[in-house]
Symmetry: C2
Subunit: 316 residues, 2 copies
């Protein structure tokens, strides 16, 4: 009998949705996209030893493989609906699969995401998830709309996941608040939806604030100036590292999965009001100016931009 | 500077489509599904050394990674539209990427498929493609509609790809006609679309005819009886292997990517007419009966079902 991992995962994974006409178990899924909506689609791979330490708990891998994709949907202002899962495993390891499915399902349920298809293959451990969702037609947030004079905001706090990873690599004790940010990142779905019609540009912070904001600058054809003193640092990070390291982690550390937003100044009050309703937090960290690239300025206006921009694996 | 493989692939890959509101280059793609259509979605992974020999030409890997997914869409009667590509490579190998992209693009262009997103990561070679397409609402072909009395048909010829793989493994000369079936399978898109409203059930033959037809039997709650003498064998296969080996390859060899169809007898003339218009071929190979499982009968009515059902890696 075939060891059907996807069937096993189906048993515990994801939500049931009326818009799934045909889910797992045929050659493909058949799905109903509501009228007046555009489909939003993304795919991201996590490779063992590259995107997560080999020793990561299966449930955390499951959670994170979906989270990084939902974060991309959040950055578009999209509401997630469905996911497809391609899981490559060295062997048909039931313990791994059940742990993985548990973590995946926990996040999927929290956002009413249905697992509608997938593939399991034998090979070195890696996970590719495709997430599908939608936006009202014409309302997707993009990287391309920032203008000089816009404010730059970021949700939540920065650097926590990178701080946790650094402590893990140094074999030091990792505060739980930091570890949770690395292992169970929370995609900013509600915040992304609240930003529709408000943000002029949006991106999720996955490779590091500087690296990701540079994408916004390049696509929008503008520059950004950040105030190094305004970067949102968690109390857990500040209690663990010195101020300079916190700043570096916040600027260049990856895996934050916060949203970085630009917004016309006239809309800032609406932004803060919308976030108050979604219980989200956002901090103003700088401004959009003419030019190109991202500069970080200290309180005296001196350029303190780090040389290292972000996480430098070769992945796109 | 980041070695942006997906950007490089974008340059040569796939078609431009008016229904791609936002393609590669943002956090996710934004896509317009036409009114009156259901989205059809599938994902499949190819792992080096498992799904293709390590020495396979990059262009063939690119072609096949898309082909296996388009074949799943074909089995649903879907028209393909978009694809997302997750490519994991041991190193940023420009030669590989350009070859891969060339093969992927060649097939994508042939079916007007636009590459709308992706991810490139560093790790052991594997490729996961997600294919998206659509059917008129309510017209998807499934595995679940076969009834006793239905005829069983299969498109094209069976066993060619498995024959080529066997010769490669035995380090023997491989006739070009067989090698092409292994390296550049042609998804039966036009045939799948022609089958809408005609076939009672449909599946693509990826794991082997017996294994795949068993899925139809299990989902539909019926059995199938195949006539071993009616299996469509190509002249290239017949010229290379003995009759008994041809039969085994046709029944149990994988990677055919033909469609196996069930159809009420009253609709058979329409099927053949529709296939004549799409220049497709289909061969009647058996019948649906009450019961469960698949039996293969010879001309005397003796049961000659092979013990080995299909390709037995652990993948679903």
């Amino acid at each position: 009998m075939e060891f059907d991992l996807i069937e096993r995962i189906r048993g515990c994974c994801g939500s049931k949705r009326a818009d799934v006409a045909l889910g797992i178990g045929d050659d493909a899924a058949v799905l109903d996209v509501p009228a007046g909506r555009q489909l939003v689609a993304c795919t991201d791979t996590l490779v063992a030893g590259v995107h997560f330490p080999e020793a990561t708990a299966p449930g955390d891998i499951g959670w994170k493989s979906l989270a990084v994709n939902l974060s991309d949907l959040a950055a578009m202002g999209a509401e997630p609906a469905w996911a497809l899962l391609a899981l490559t495993l060295p062997s048909p390891d039931t313990h791994f699969v059940e742990g993985f499915a548990g973590g995946f399902a926990e996040l999927a349920r929290g956002h009413a995401v249905a697992l509608v298809g997938g593939d399991t293959t034998q090979g070195p451990l890696s996970v590719t998830v495709t997430a599908l969702g939608w936006v009202p037609t014409g309302s997707a947030l993009t990287r391309g709309g920032a203008h000089p004079g816009d404010a730059v905001y970021v949700t939540g706090t920065l650097g926590d996941a990178a701080g946790a990873l650094q402590l893990l690599r140094d074999r030091e004790r990792v505060p739980q608040a930091l570890l949770a940010r690395l292992q169970r990142p929370r995609p900013r779905i509600a915040e992304g939806i609240a930003l529709r019609g408000l943000a002029s540009a949006c991106i999720d912070v996955s490779d590091g604030l500087l690296a990701d904001l540079r994408h916004v600058c390049a696509t929008s054809g503008i520059a950004a100036e950040l105030d190094s003193g305004s970067l949102p640092i968690s109390s857990a990070l500040a209690a663990t590292f010195g101020a300079e390291t916190c700043r570096e982690l916040a600027l260049s550390g990856g895996d934050d999965y916060e949203l970085c937003i630009t917004i016309p100044p006239a809309r800032e009050a609406e932004l803060l009001g919308a976030f108050a309703r979604t219980r989200g937090e956002a901090t103003r960290i700088g401004s959009i100016v003419a030019g190109s690239g991202v500069r970080v300025l200290d309180a005296r206006g001196d350029d303190v931009t780090p040389m290292r921009a972000g996480w430098e694996h070769f992945s796109a």
